[in-house]
């Protein structure tokens, strides 16, 4: 049989489609992320006694903390599915550039994260009567921050999943590396919520874009070495 090496794009999309189909059926990952996110938001409400004045200042921080924790859950689970039954070897055996595997996993992880955010943000708005979070600029920052977080998270989860302590190791590895993305995201989204001028949030916004590009480029270059023994 004549086989042609699949294009980078086709291999990437095959992985995305496979992940989305499996998750649509099992809903293990999304339900865990969603329940966890809601619990975190409720806990913050009790812990910080979110009255209207406090809420204005902490909304961005609360949301990003929630997304970061929930994202870690999703990243761990998404890579564990590949590792537990040897499926990662199945992917690595395919005659494609291995960065296609990274992009496939990263896009499906981003899709899961965005689905969770699309549910959690309106819920937060509803629970705390916060309407400013629906402005396009804020949602754009959420998207940029999620891209950077997922890019570096997918790479590190591919590393941590090979260890026995993967559940503990991923957040330990990820949070220090993702600090620039999270800080820039909180600064930019906090500024937008406070009604700051665009010029005022330009610096964190630029940082966010630079981190996204850098993290994606680094992950693209080193993924092959991370997954190979």
């Amino acid at each position: 049989m004549k086989t042609a090496s699949p294009s980078f794009f086709k291999a990437t999309m095959a992985i995305v489609q496979k992940d989305l189909s499996a998750e649509l059926r099992s809903r293990e990952l999304l339900s865990a992320m969603l329940v966890f996110s809601m619990l975190v938001i409720l806990i913050f409400n009790f812990a910080l006694e979110l009255d209207p004045d406090v809420r204005e200042k902490v909304t961005a921080g609360v949301l990003w903390t929630t997304f970061a924790f929930a994202g870690t859950l999703g990243l761990n689970r998404s890579m564990a599915v590949e590792k537990d039954r040897g499926c990662m070897d199945g992917l690595l055996l395919a005659p494609v550039d291995r960065s296609a595997i990274f992009f496939g996993k990263a896009i499906s992880n981003l899709a899961f994260m965005l689905i969770v955010e699309a549910i959690v943000i309106p819920l937060y708005g509803l629970l705390y009567n916060e309407t400013r979070i629906f402005q396009p600029g804020f949602l754009g920052v959420i998207l940029l921050g999620s891209i950077g977080y997922i890019a570096v998270g997918t790479l590190l989860s591919a590393m941590s999943v090979q260890t026995r302590t993967r559940d503990v190791l991923l957040p330990i590895l990820l949070f220090p590396v993702a600090v620039p993305v999270l800080l820039a995201s909180v600064k930019a989204s906090g500024g937008l919520l406070a009604g700051a001028e665009f010029a005022e949030i330009l610096t964190p916004l630029n940082l966010l874009i630079v981190y996204d590009v850098v993290f994606i480029a680094i992950s693209f270059m080193v993924f092959d070495f991370v997954v190979e023994e």
């Binding site: 291999a11 095959a14 189909s21 499996a22 040897g86 499926c87 070897d89 055996l93 494609v96 023994e229």
Partner: protein
């Protein structure tokens, strides 16, 4: 078809393979035997391009590893004790996914063909998590041959199978996976290895200690040959 010269594999300070030489002619079925920890799986993972050799020459189907790993992978099928299948996808979705990863033309026809070959066409719409271990292993063989590879690597394919499932797998291995292909198989099941293979290589302490063709074992059986090789 497979040529390995002075292969060394180290993990940190630990040396697993110590200058291993190995070659397989097209169409041969080589059973790679040896005690636990001898380096069989490590060696197979290097042949499968899943692990990099520390030193030495490794060629599969005329391509060097690791420099031409993608070309090697296109000609290689691997069946291990893990099925490498997604439990939340159906049998046909699993085969279709791997077919897309290998760039198979006329994919739907090939999916049907593969499922028929491994006797799972009537379960094609069922989720893999509902399959028995034996059925999963048959589907794993379908996954491994979806791109019609020239070389097959079997790493302990009988692990966890009961007697009936092992016999069924024997049949699928013979009729689907091994037919017309070059095969290297690691196994602790000497009886099955003796039945399937045309050559037996004993891997001990990181090198091939002894090698014998099936016809050379006329006056002895594989177990006696295996024991003698390890004692030497």
């Amino acid at each position: 078809m497979i040529e390995v010269k002075k292969l060394v594999k180290r993990f940190g300070l630990k040396t697993i393979l110590r200058g291993l030489d190995f070659s397989v002619q097209p169409g041969e079925f080589v059973a790679l035997l040896g005690p636990n920890g001898a380096g069989k799986t490590t060696f197979l993972r290097i042949l499968a391009t899943l692990s990099r050799p520390s030193l030495g020459l490794v060629q599969v189907a005329g391509h060097n590893i690791p420099n031409q790993a993608a070309e090697v992978r296109a000609k290689l099928g691997v069946v291990s004790h893990l099925p490498l299948l997604y439990p939340d996808l159906t049998a046909e979705e699993n085969i279709r996914f791997y077919g897309r990863m290998y760039g198979i033309p006329d994919l739907e026809e090939r999916v049907t063909e593969v499922l028929e070959m491994v006797g799972l066409d009537n379960r094609r719409k069922d989720l893999v998590r509902t399959f028995s271990r034996g059925m999963q292993q048959r589907l794993a063989i379908g996954r491994a041959v979806v791109h019609d590879p020239e070389v097959m690597l079997f790493d302990e394919p009988y692990t966890g199978l009961d007697q009936d499932a092992s016999e069924m797998l024997d049949e699928v291995l013979r009729s689907v996976a091994a037919k017309g292909r070059t095969v290297v198989m690691t196994s602790h099941d000497l009886a099955r290895a003796e039945d399937l293979a045309t050559r037996f290589d004993i891997l001990s302490r990181g090198v091939i200690a002894t090698s014998a063709k099936h016809e050379d074992l006329k006056n002895t059986n594989l177990l006696a040959f295996y024991k003698k090789s390890l004692e030497a």
